[in-house]
């Protein structure tokens, strides 16, 4: 039996359910992540209904509002974005882009998905237990997270912590695969620096995940002990409902440090794959080599390293030592440098490119704009003195939704429009896609731009209702109505996307093997969609980097990475770093 035959699955079950094929696992991850993402989207719509039309909906009381907030945040950040970028895109693209037959540990990869699914089930089960899911806020700060008075303090918080621990086990199993595959299963000729930036972004994000998720694991386990065994890791001496509890001496700030030591790298676990993917979308759809490839890789590595020394900028108002604030403000502003380099390089890649306004390109452009807006407000919040008055206002909500909510989601959409033809063999419907793009892009600005103004007015976030606050003008409520209407429209427009995914699967235009005329290896497979084992009998050989677009002296404007020979007409055009 040769290597190719080993990758042939047997029955229906081993092919589609208990599959060890990275492509099937990627689709399983993606469908599950999108499913829970839709639940979280529904929860945000409920939150907006309360904020836009307070008191109109009887079933939304203060407790359920906090539960919606908490579950929305946690699902979006962990169970949707992390799972979709690493488990979905990472799983599908890494082996194909580096020229491997599969992940190096296919069985562990399969387990990773099923453990992730278990984490999702445990999380969703909390909707059906007495007291419902936790309403502690996605940061789960003790002591309130496990005390009576917080929704879900009995069952919800326990299921949340257990679910997170299970998720981390799943993410670690996946992460071991992604990193080892990139390091040791690349095709002949595929040097690290010939890898597409998508792989670099996912690779670095996975390293961050492997190093940062343990911090969340530590805090989750210690809080479970505080909750279930009565220990006092985080719990200080405290009165609850007028009664003194058995806890004493614990440190809530310790939890915050652990949580944000995970929480800030988490931002980049989501952002780095998005950076990588958007680089490839822009280069491919502008028919131009990426500007400053090496600097793009360096920036990914530097951002990854720096992301571990900025965590306490989430804690300026926690009462920690003020000198910490000075240090963390400085590191936070330094991380803006490599990030800005990336933005410049995307723009310079577009400059004098042959820009095709395809759907992936539209989403990529929207990402650059949105990420810049979100990044700039980050400069405000990174400075301690500016952060203090803006802390816990809608300015913060606007900032992080722009920079790590909308931006990565735009890249996810762009990525799906880009790779759907490879995954299914069919194109997504262009007209539906245009509606989806413009509705989402303009709609999200309609939601989050006004929130900056609400924040500057001092409107606090996480509040269920704003009655009897003299400092909030009535016009703020008018803005809230507008935001709610926009949010519901944007949520409904996502149904178009879901419809498009299903409809195009059966009725979409045949895509052919390389509809975008891209250079990277995943577009050069023998069959589309690629079969189990990806490459037929012979593994590909990589002869060039991933960005040979519009090379002078060639008839076609792209040279696939597996095309033999060196450039006869010199090196590719473009400025080099």
């Amino acid at each position: 039996m040769n290597e190719h035959d080993q990758h042939q699955p047997g029955s229906f079950f081993t092919r589609y359910i208990w599959s060890q094929d990275h492509k099937v696992i990627a689709i399983q991850y993606s469908i599950t992540a999108i499913f829970v993402g839709l639940i979280a989207l529904g929860l945000s719509a409920l939150m907006r209904l309360q904020l836009g039309f307070p008191g109109t909906f009887d079933f939304i009381d203060a407790s359920s509002y906090y539960q919606y907030v908490t579950m929305h945040g946690m699902i979006m950040v962990i169970y949707l974005l992390t799972a979709l970028f690493l488990g979905g895109f990472g799983n599908y693209l890494i082996p194909l882009m580096v020229g491997a037959r599969d992940m190096v540990f296919p069985y562990v990869n399969m387990l990773s998905y099923w453990v992730y699914l278990l984490a999702v089930i445990v999380l969703l089960a909390s909707f059906f237990v007495p007291g419902g899911p936790t309403g502690a806020g996605w940061t789960l700060y003790p002591p309130q997270a496990i005390l009576q008075g917080t929704p879900g303090a009995d069952w919800g918080i326990v299921l949340m912590l257990i679910s997170l621990a299970i998720f981390i086990v799943a993410a670690t199993m996946g992460g071991l695969n992604y990193v080892t595959t990139v390091l040791q299963a690349r095709a002949r000729g595929m040097t690290m620096m010939r890898m597409p930036l998508t792989v670099w972004g996912i690779f670095m994000a996975t390293i961050l995940a492997l190093l940062a998720f343990p911090a969340l694991f530590v805090s989750a386990i210690m809080m479970l002990f505080d909750k279930l065994a009565g220990t006092s890791f985080f719990m200080p001496a405290i009165l609850s409902m007028g009664q003194p509890l058995d806890h004493e001496g614990g440190s809530p700030i310790l939890f915050q440090h652990l949580f944000w030591f995970f929480g800030h790298p988490e931002v980049y676990i989501v952002a780095l794959p998005a950076f990588g993917i958007v680089s490839d979308l822009i280069s491919t759809h502008a028919r131009k080599n990426i500007f400053g490839y090496r600097m793009m890789v360096w920036a990914i590595v530097i951002i990854g390293v720096l992301s571990f020394v900025v965590w306490a900028h989430h804690m300026y108002v926690s009462g920690m030592n003020p000198y910490f604030g000075y240090f963390f403000a400085t590191t936070t502003l330094i991380i803006a440098v490599p990030t800005a380099i990336k933005v410049y390089n995307w723009v310079l890649t577009l400059w004098r490119g042959n820009i095709h306004l395809t759907l992936p390109m539209l989403f990529a452009l929207a990402f650059v704009a949105t990420f810049t807006v979100g990044g700039l407000t980050g400069l405000f919040l990174g400075n301690v003195v500016v952060d203090l008055p803006l802390s816990d206002t809608y300015f913060v909500v606007a900032h992080f939704h722009m920079v790590m909510g909308v931006s990565p989601i735009l890249v996810i959409f762009g990525g799906i429009y880009h790779w759907y033809p490879k995954i299914t063999g069919r194109m997504l419907n262009e007209r539906l896609g245009q509606w989806h793009f413009w509705g989402t892009f303009l709609g999200t600005y309609a939601i989050y731009f006004p929130m900056h103004y609400l924040g500057v007015l001092g409107v606090p976030r996480r509040y269920y209702a704003f009655e009897n606050y003299d400092f909030i003008p009535e016009s703020a409520q008018a803005l809230n109505v507008f935001i709610t209407v926009a949010a519901i429209l944007v949520a409904l427009i996502q149904l178009l996307f879901i419809f498009n995914l299903v409809w195009s699967l059966f009725r979409g235009r045949e895509a052919g093997s390389n509809p975008w005329q891209a250079t990277t290896l995943e577009w050069q497979t023998e069959t589309t969609p690629p079969g189990h084992g990806n490459w037929g009998r012979e593994l590909p050989v990589c002869y060039r980097w991933a960005y040979d677009y519009s090379v002078p002296g060639y008839e076609q404007d792209f040279l696939p990475q597996n095309m033999p020979g060196t450039h006869s007409a010199g090196e590719p055009a473009g400025v080099r770093v």
Binding site: S232, E248, G249, R294
Partner: protein, 218 residues
């Protein structure tokens, strides 16, 4: 090639394709990355331990008679079990390298049994502590003791599960030198981790204070 050399490569320039692929011992690489993740996990627990130790209600575990870890003889015995397990795996690894499979199998068997003895010994020590009234929520240091030794035991048990499957002949893995070597590496790591953990848990408060002050946590 070093990381810096990799990052300085200019991929847009023409290069000859080398004959070799990037492939190496993927199992070993995967295991090393896993050990890195486990190390980070315990390192973060140690940091949490140090930060918590700076609060006034902290009570050391092994300073005076009557404290839970003052009598360490049972823990020393468990340490010997794990040390012997590690030695046995090393023996098995050497034998496997010389294709001496009979000895390798004996080494693997003994290694696993001693590791199981370690877990059993830890469990008995827990029971002993409980019978003396030292419960998990008695003091923060004791909470850390139960948590960290429990987590370490979970990692030993996970290793034992893989060991058991291999001893039962599932997947026929015992005949692969690589597998024996990976087991050996894992058990050396568990021993090292236990020694650090043991030393850490029975250290004097002054040691914690000094480390915490050095790290700026004091």
């Amino acid at each position: 090639m070093s990381l810096l050399q990799v990052l300085r490569e200019k991929p847009w320039q023409a290069q000859a394709v080398s004959a070799s692929t990037s492939g190496g011992n993927v199992g070993r690489t995967g295991l090393k990355i896993l050990l890195g993740v486990i190390s980070v996990l315990f390192l973060l627990f140690f940091v949490a331990f140090l930060m918590r130790s700076q609060y006034p209600d902290w009570q050391p575990l092994a300073e005076e008679p009557g404290q839970p870890l003052y009598n360490k003889s049972a823990l020393w015995l468990n340490t010997i079990y794990l040390g012997v397990a590690s030695l046995m795996f090393q023996w098995a690894s050497r034998s496997a390298g010389r294709s001496n499979w009979r000895t390798a199998r004996v080494g693997m068997l003994l290694g696993g049994l001693f590791a199981a003895a370690f877990v059993g010994g830890q469990w008995m020590f827990w029971q002993e502590l409980q019978s003396q009234g030292f419960l998990v929520n008695d003091s923060p240091a004791l909470s850390f003791f139960y948590l960290l030794t429990g987590l370490h035991a979970v990692h030993v048990l996970a290793g034992l599960l893989v060991w058991l499957l291999s001893m039962l002949g599932l997947a026929g893995r015992l005949h692969r030198t690589d597998f024996v070597r990976l087991c050996t590496l894992y058990w050396h790591f568990l021993l090292l981790l236990w020694l650090v953990l043991f030393g850490f848990l029975v250290s004097k408060p002054e040691t914690y204070d000094a480390i915490a002050a050095f790290c700026g946590l004091g």
